[in-house]
Subunit: 347 residues, 3 copies
């Protein structure tokens, strides 16, 4: 019954998707502007290649975004912006049409992949949806423009919020017109937008929660450890995926429940937390000093839904001594394969 309902809904959506449905604007013609107000011209350019990876253990397809051909990963590359920056990203769809066709839940869905982003500013032509025709057919490419609009204040009054935050990007087309198949197959990554004065971390760890009970698409003990040296400024970016709700918990460290994890002033009474509910598409981040006050060690990081941690939704935040010694490895885990989880803030 649910499947029937789904088909009916999708059919209704797709009636309109054949004809052009791009947002129009009186000032820029029928196809609409291609960038948010404030972005005169993109100041940064990058290319993202969407590729098919080896299937998962259960044979399900895996897809990834990558910064170069053959470099796709899950999650995709972490993208950093600073408020005021305008980024043009050309997405190249290198996924075989047959793979995308097999992933469709409805044959009237168009074939393609897309790039939808949270938090920053874009016009409808860059929103990555089917109804705005903002997707990339197999073998083609399309340029999306994201504007990290800055906070604007007048006499200490905030007239525009800005876009600094811990966000994420993902497909919005594969499988269903919400990209459920694409996100589930691995088409997502983190976006960090900083204010110019924000402290830069020494390391950034991206921790996607779900689908299922995985970090990224892996579980303990396959999930790589997150390794840092004592005293380093470490940034965590947590992203909720799929259908489930989770709670992110880190041992030995806490943070403030706001944009940065840091407090603004002595009188700031933002809650301090070390455990946070994460629903689908929620994203947040924070910076800590590795081992501050608590020293080196193998600090658990896990979902605190007990059934989730018990079945593998955990890893270690392994803080190595800065005096030459190393924390003994726990449980025979090799620190390997985690480079896609670890993107230095100083490129």
């Amino acid at each position: 019954m649910k499947a029937a309902r789904l088909r009916a809904v999708l059919a209704a959506v797709l009636v309109g998707s054949v004809a052009p449905a791009v947002a129009s604007s009186g000032s820029s013609g029928s196809s609409g502007p291609d960038r948010a107000a404030g972005c005169v011209t993109p100041t940064t350019h990058r290319t993202m290649y969407v590729e098919e990876l080896a299937p998962g253990p259960d044979g399900s397809p895996r897809l990834g975004y990558g910064s170069a051909p053959g470099a796709a990963s899950i999650p995709g590359p972490t993208i950093e912006m600073v408020e005021g920056e305008c980024l043009a990203i050309t997405v190249v769809n290198d996924v075989p049409a047959a793979t995308l066709a097999a992933m469709r839940t409805d044959p009237s869905l168009p074939l393609g992949v897309s790039l939808h982003v949270h938090g920053v500013k874009y016009t409808p032509s860059s929103d990555g949806t089917v109804h705005n025709q903002s997707f990339v057919p197999p073998g083609e490419s399309r340029t999306y423009i994201w504007y990290a609009a800055p906070r604007v204040t007048v006499a200490n009054r905030v007239v525009s919020l800005g876009t600094a935050g811990y966000w994420w990007y993902h497909d919005h087309v594969v499988g269903t017109d919400h990209g459920t198949g694409g996100v589930g197959a691995g088409l997502f990554g983190a976006l960090v937008v900083r204010r110019p004065t924000d402290p830069r971390p020494d390391r950034t760890f991206v921790v996607p929660m779900g689908p299922g009970v995985s970090f990224g698409l892996q579980r303990h003990p396959d999930m790589p450890e997150l390794v840092a040296r004592q005293g380093e400024r470490v940034e965590f970016v947590v992203i909720g995926l799929g259908d489930g709700f989770h709670t992110f918990h880190l041992h030995g460290h806490n943070w403030a429940d706001n944009r940065t994890g840091m407090l603004v002033s002595a009188a700031d009474e933002t809650a301090l937390i070390d455990n946070k509910t994460v629903g689908p598409a929620d994203s947040f981040g924070f910076q800590v000093i590795a081992g501050e006050e608590v020293g080196p060690g193998a600090w658990m990081v896990h979902c605190h839904v007990q059934a989730h941690s018990d079945t593998g939704m955990m890893t270690f935040f392994r803080v190595e001594s800065n005096e030459g010694g190393a924390v003994p490895a726990v449980s025979g885990h090799e620190v390997s394969g985690h480079e896609h989880m670890h993107h230095g803030a100083h490129p």
Copy 2:
């Protein structure tokens, strides 16, 4: 077993509901005061009619609150107050006794409907519960008094929080003594309490999430679009219903995760978000400028639980150009029937 347990629990509750259980106060007699301290006399009056509507597609009963006979809707009318205001609401129960009897999960539950509210101040006699005898039998009426207590500060120290916020009201009696049947059938609505200096929106959209995977009691493509003109100040009020957890996501716009969605000062580091976990009875709201920086367009608003959006928990925030042009309709949706979702702030 659950049903048996439920009956046992309800039976235990109802032992006490025959005898008067109204809170008493030494200063006001055995029946207790009828209004919160600070409300000398109600400054505003309104009447709410509770009525039976046409049943849902599956034949289940639907009930609604309305501001006039025959005007009941789901959700009910959005009520606005300003801190300091005291509101008397007379609730008229026009629902047939037979309908309420059929909705009872236990025959010892009293027949009636009620009005329970979040956020503002009321005495036990206005809390809408069975145990406080605060309900309205069929064919009768009862007056509830809500006080939007103001924030009180002394030398910049807050001694009373006030009650400004995005709240909601609902039945607490129909079906079970938590009003599960009443809320599920449609007996709920939004309450917005403003501080006197708060900016007033041009439009307010109420977005109830659930039960099931609906906005209000409708799904895409039946769910009406939320239509505004570019540059208008638009207010969203999101309310969680039923048993499920959801994530509210809006394309192209973001807001601060606080009382208003706006930032207080240049140094304010409240998190900016465009996706928020919403549990049952959670309510929040925010104001955005429609199309700010991103222009007109058909912006998706949806639950980001993938299985929910895929099965219809979505609609469009349709921002029309202010230069005379209109955004092309998407997917053949007619903009209609949404007036119950759209309550102008300037009546």
Copy 3:
């Protein structure tokens, strides 16, 4: 399949648990420091006895922490600290080895109980986990050291967050290496860390949500009422347990969604709430003045997931008049057996 996976994961974890896996530090020898930096020596000492209680209605084992032999309770004693305090807690494991063996989900898990804490600072040797060998075998004892690190500011800039908050402690070893069996059986309690200038409450109520649909391990009408006198400063500490998500709702009172529930200044725009999503291991707290503006009465406190409140996840916050009268008892509940829910702030 899930059980098999669980066994595989646990087996992998436990490979490393035979050999010493304690974090090392160049400055303090191979066994690592036993306390967080800043704690020169513990300033407070207490002993916690872990004991087996009578089994639950379904025959499942129950365990509790207690401050004296024979005094174990569920939840365990509420522990209060002030920032700057360093606490040494000696845990005595008086649970029969056979009980712990029967609760193991995997025979290679070590037998023992532990004490893991949220929010405050501790070294790996005090983190209560299997991989850090931080547990207490049956018949033995072990001292854990918690440091309530203070907030440190330099010229109004916060250089260390401090640890003030509403936290909790729990077992991390019994049943699985996440303590799922221990927490489920009752091995948890609240930890309140105050800043020196925080107002002290007259009463503190600890409200654990779950497992299942219980407050603590009880349901309405067995769940005791939370009783206070009008005008008292009452503190609620809410803790999420198990696998489920809940929403904590209190009638007639609201609070600010920050560290204390109070607002910092007249311009503070933290959201006011009376309903909050609580995931597993989330913990928060707030202070209200009992009956402020609303008077004495029987105020419901319940999970607002409708199916949870309908099946017993509720009780009453019973505010007695301070003019000598008492609120009539509702529903025949006796106010009894709730002392473990009620820990005065002034010992």
